[in-house]
Amino acid sequence: MQVFFQHLVYGLSSGSVYALIALGYTMVYGVLGLINFAHSEVFMMGAYAGLYCALGLGYQPDTPFPLVNALVVLLFAMMAAAALGVTIERLAYRPVRHAPRLTPLITAIGVSLLLQNLGILFFSATPKPFPRIVAETVFHVGGVVVTNVKLVIFGVSIALMLGLQWFVFRTWTGKAMRATSVNPAAARLMGVNVNRVIGSTFALGSALAAAGGILFGLDQTTVSPQMGVMIGLKAFVAAVLGGIGNIPGAVIGGIVIGLAEEFTSGYLSSEYRDAITFVILIAVLLFRPQGLLGVVRQEKV
């Protein structure tokens, strides 16, 4: 039982990072019908933005107010990633928005490769240690090891997801996003500036990915220009599992993938850790292609 709870703690924390990244895939798919393959590199760039911010400000584990410092780094990285996401949409995706489906897809893969290589160029291909902004404290709760870092990861993810929920349901921009994802032409008729909504969606999704990047860095202690490849793929599978285009679906998908991975490596073998994600992907595509919460998309006008 102790072992079970131990895996649960780890699974929930990595799952919530997948969920944060999955949200960006799902939101962009919702408004544009595009799978933004560059999203995993926005996650990576977000982590580096946080890394350089923390180095620049000279944060050490013993710097006073570690949680405030972590928040500063988080906000900086989120803003930098939002700017990057908006730029990618503006420069790469908007010109091909009305081109046949394959064109935006290939553009997305191109942007993804470009950003990875820019990462190697500027940050070097060698993994870098992520600054220890928060000194790790270990608690034992009934024999289960819980660290403050895991708690921060879980807490920040939940807070961001609740924030997103509030944004999407309570603000006019959020409502416009939902309207655009149901029917862009009708949204235009309501006076919605669809271009601006798409920009906001990229900004928001990218900011969440950057938060995922910071949390990943805190957890795994190193970052590299290739870190987005595997994590991004898993987050993408999470979005598909939840039902791509569906926001609560992405959260559930992320948590499920995190838990599945953790329990597989705990109870079967850690060799299957990555494989389970693809088993899930294949199962979803075969048995429930619309995902857990997805509905068969209605035709757009």
């Binding site: 006019w172 309207a179 008729l189 509905v295």
Partner: protein
Amino acid sequence: MSEKALSIENLTVTYGGITAVKNISLHIMPGEIVTLIGANGAGKSSTLKAIMRLAKSTGEIQALGQSVIGKETHEIARMGVALVPEGRAIFGNLSVRENLELGAYVKREAEGMKKRFGEVVELFPRLGERMSQNAGTLSGGEQQMLAIGRAMMAEPRILLLDEPSLGLAPKLVMEIFAAVRAIAKKGLTILLVEQNTRLALETAQRAYVLVSGEIALSGNAAELRHDPRVKDAYLGDSAHA
């Protein structure tokens, strides 16, 4: 100079090689109900889409004294022009309330959301009973009511209606048209596209008849109702051989 609420001069709408609307001109005075009638494929929806810049066109279109050419759809909506499109285009996965709220998107910072909800419910009491229902589960008639109600939430000055009677039972058609007349009483300018020619001519003050993308006839609606050419082609009053 333009006291007209809406004026269209030499409008041509083409899709690739197909010309859907050929060099038509029409206008509507403030507060008028004008109907545009014609058979399937005559170019009625294309005309409405051109007004909202949802279709590429040449020629001049002015709404409320401003040219819409070069503007984007959302900007025209913000000018006070609302289109209830063919097929209704409601937001299927959202609730009735959310659909209506989005109708008021252009007014989002303004006061009076409650008042506008009240007016729509007064127009369509059925919507009031279904505020939390998923709009996609509404019946066809209710969806049409929602589409019109949603357009009214923006407090538009010009309302463009594309075949509001399409696919509805006669009783519902009557209800919808009663609402259209009630809306007109508020002083809105209405361009009504219809295939239900009889009802359209009874509701409107003036009419334009579109045949293969060109205006074949126009004039006073009451007179057109008795025009033999209209009777033959659209009212089915003539004896069939």
